[in-house]
Amino acid sequence: MTDAAAEPILTVEHLSMRFGGLVAVDDLSFSARRGDITALIGPNGAGKTTVFNCITGFYKPSVGMIRLTHTNGAEFLLERLFDFRISKHARVARTFQNIRLFPGMTALENLMVAQHNPLMLASGLTFLGIFGIASFTQAERAAIDKARYWLDRIGLIERADDPAGSLPYGAQRRLEIARAMCADPVLLCLDEPAAGLNVRESGELNELLMFIRAEHGTSILLIEHDMSVVMEISDHIVVLDYGLKIADGKPAAVRDDPKVIAAYLGVHDEELDEAHAEAGL
């Protein structure tokens, strides 16, 4: 990820999100570069998930612009696209803080659902597929191969035919990431992927994310509390507190930032004032 070559894939400018009188995100600007793993961190209630919901179309931001650029130069203004179109056209996929798999469907079926749009086209919007035309059968086989590839990658190939709801927690987390990847995203948004994982599992998660970036060139934006994950794999960190951006930079720089330490560990008011004064706020 050489600095010169990497232009931003995602640019967030002056993003604000208000719920009635509550300002969840206040004038946030940052950018994520193509091929980078960008982490969005901050204490509970800092507005991280709100930012995610704005980017992935579940909320319509009150103010601001979110621009996504594809490698071919195509630009998408995400604040203007509505829910499923962000995934379908702008190709942004996401996972959820509380896992949202299809619990009654098998692991394989979960990954097949993620490939809905290309398969739907191949089935001639169902009209041709119902007669089992050859091109659809081929497309379906390709989709199964892709699902098999990801199941193999996340170590769930043996459990492909088990319902997603019956898998262990860590496996469900991995499956949700694989499902998002089956939608062929250019930007993968992960909402606390390491939450509830043990040390070994979060190590595996790191490997998986590094693999996704290296092999598939997918840029990753993640929210995470687990600092072992954040510090180890992210190229760039944005820190939020009470909806405001308080730091933005390389992991090493962010780690030593007094405001970040203050936000995470809590300080006396005087110290906070000092820290703010230092930072010129």
Binding site: T56, D83, F84, T106, V113, T126, A160, A183
Partner: protein
């Protein structure tokens, strides 16, 4: 007051608790039956109504309830016999393993019915009725079982299908075979029309709107006198022909053309096979659709709508296609109903019909094709069977339904078969599969994310 704590405090306390509960049951029974059974109205000598008390009968019934409750409390609960234990899970698992075989056997039986019972017109009529409801059940299964959208107004599309055929035949003289696809198209059009306003609704709210829609269609049929002849209905709906050959005693009729002796049963048998084919088409299309992306999107929609949207699935179209497909099959069934009856009126399309079809789907196990077929046969066969009980028919039948729902809360077939498999096919326990009803809950949860 758990059973466990009662056990630990000794037998005497057990007996007192049981006595208390039995007394409570008896009190409730007294409250319920004092007016229902304890008092009877008769016509007196002057023609006025007089009240006569029946204290003895009331006492017997309350006594029976008391004794029954006491026995249940003391014996059954004490030994930990839950009602559900009477049905062994092994037996059910084995029955499910035989599912495919059972399906084929039932199909074979359904094909042979007109041959075995050729002279039993009553049984053939019952068979036709059961198959009509099997078809309706399979159609509604797409909406409720697969897509998880609770639809209480399904009968509206059945009505649209029936009136489409009757009116097209009456006004334009179209034959059954032209009207059948038209009725399906019109019904699915109405399905989409209903779909639009309810797109944002889920669970209970959706159920209420669909319920209202069903009533609206019925009220329009009653009140639009010029078109539908209102409550009088439409008489003389053309009977079906054997691809152009009418079932009559004329020279050009079916019997004469095939050199058979004319019999009114020919038409009944033909109708039987017609609805059998229509139902099987419904079934085959549903099975096929489940394995296509659209079918998987329906099921994914039932499981988690938010996740669907995050994967780029157009939930609007997905819901509308589910409504349209379900409505189309109801339309087919409706036009079959019109041609079979020869007479239709709004009376035939009341809420009871919707409820019956929904009950078939729920009882069968949502999403299960064979379960729905068995449930339709059990329900309608049950109606006929319990006819002997005269006025207690619905009571007995209701009790039977309650019992089934206690033992098999997920329906007769409580597993989901995956639409695709990599290594080997395994059925999925219904506990994991979301149902139409839980939608409200999951939506509320989604809003708090």
């Amino acid at each position: 007051m758990s059973v466990l704590s009662e056990h630990s405090t000794g037998h005497r306390f057990d007996f007192l608790t049981a006595l208390k509960r039995a007394l409570l049951s008896a009190l409730i029974a007294f409250g319920l039956f004092s007016l229902l059974i304890g008092i009877r109205t008769d016509t007196g000598p002057t023609g006025a109504l007089v009240l006569t008390g029946r204290p003895a009968l009331l006492a017997i019934i309350v006594g029976l309830v008391f004794a029954g409750a006491l026995v249940r409390e003391l014996i059954l609960r004490d030994r930990g016999i839950a009602l559900g234990r009477f049905v062994s899970p092994d037996l059910l698992a084995r029955a499910q393993a035989l599912g495919k075989f059972v399906g084929l056997a039932l199909l074979g039986f359904a094909i042979l019915v007109p041959i075995i019972f050729y002279h039993d017109r009553y049984l053939l009529d019952l068979g036709i009725m059961i198959l009509t409801y099997v078809m309706l059940g399979w159609g509604l299964n797409i909406v409720v079982g697969l897509a998880g959208l609770l639809d209480l107004g399904y009968v509206a599309f059945y009505a649209v299908g029936a009136y489409s055929y009757a009116l097209l035949a009456e006004n334009f003289g179209f034959s059954f075979w032209i009207c059948l696809p038209l009725a399906g198209i019109l019904a699915s059009f109405w399905g989409i029309l209903l779909g639009f306003p309810v797109l944002r609704l889920r669970g209970d709210y959706l159920a209420i709107v669909t319920l209202a829609f069903g009533e609206m269609i019925r009220l329009v049929l009653i009140n639009w006198q010029n078109l539908t002849h209102g409550p009088d209905g439409i008489t003389g709906v053309p009977r079906p022909s054997f691809f152009g050959l009418p079932f009559n005693n004329d020279d050009g009729g079916f019997a004469h053309t095939f050199g058979l002796e004319w019999s009114p049963l020919h038409r009944i048998v033909f109708l039987y096979y017609l609805i059998l084919v229509l139902a099987l088409v419904t079934n085959l299309v549903t099975i096929r659709l489940r394995r296509l992306p659209i079918g998987r999107a329906w099921e994914a929609l039932r499981e988690d709508e938010i996740a669907c949207r995050s994967l780029g699935i157009n939930t609007t179209n997905t819901k509308l296609t589910a409504f349209a497909m379900g409505a189309m099959f109801a339309g087919f069934a409706g036009s079959f109903f019109a041609t079979r009856q020869g007479f239709i009126s709004p009376e035939s399309f009341t809420f009871t019909e919707s409820a019956l079809v929904l009950a078939i789907v729920v009882l069968g196990g949502m999403g299960s094709q064979i379960g729905v077929a068995v449930a339709a046969a059990v329900m309608l066969g049950g109606f006929e069977f319990f006819r002997e009980f005269a006025q207690f028919r619905m009571l007995v039948f209701g009790l039977a339904m309650v019992a089934i729902m206690i033992w098999r809360p997920r329906g007769l077939v409580a597993t989901r078969t995956p639409s695709i498999f990599l290594n080997r096919e395994k059925d999925i326990n219904a506990e994991l599969v979301r149902r139409a009803r839980t939608k409200t809950w999951s939506w509320r949860r989604a809003q708090h994310d």
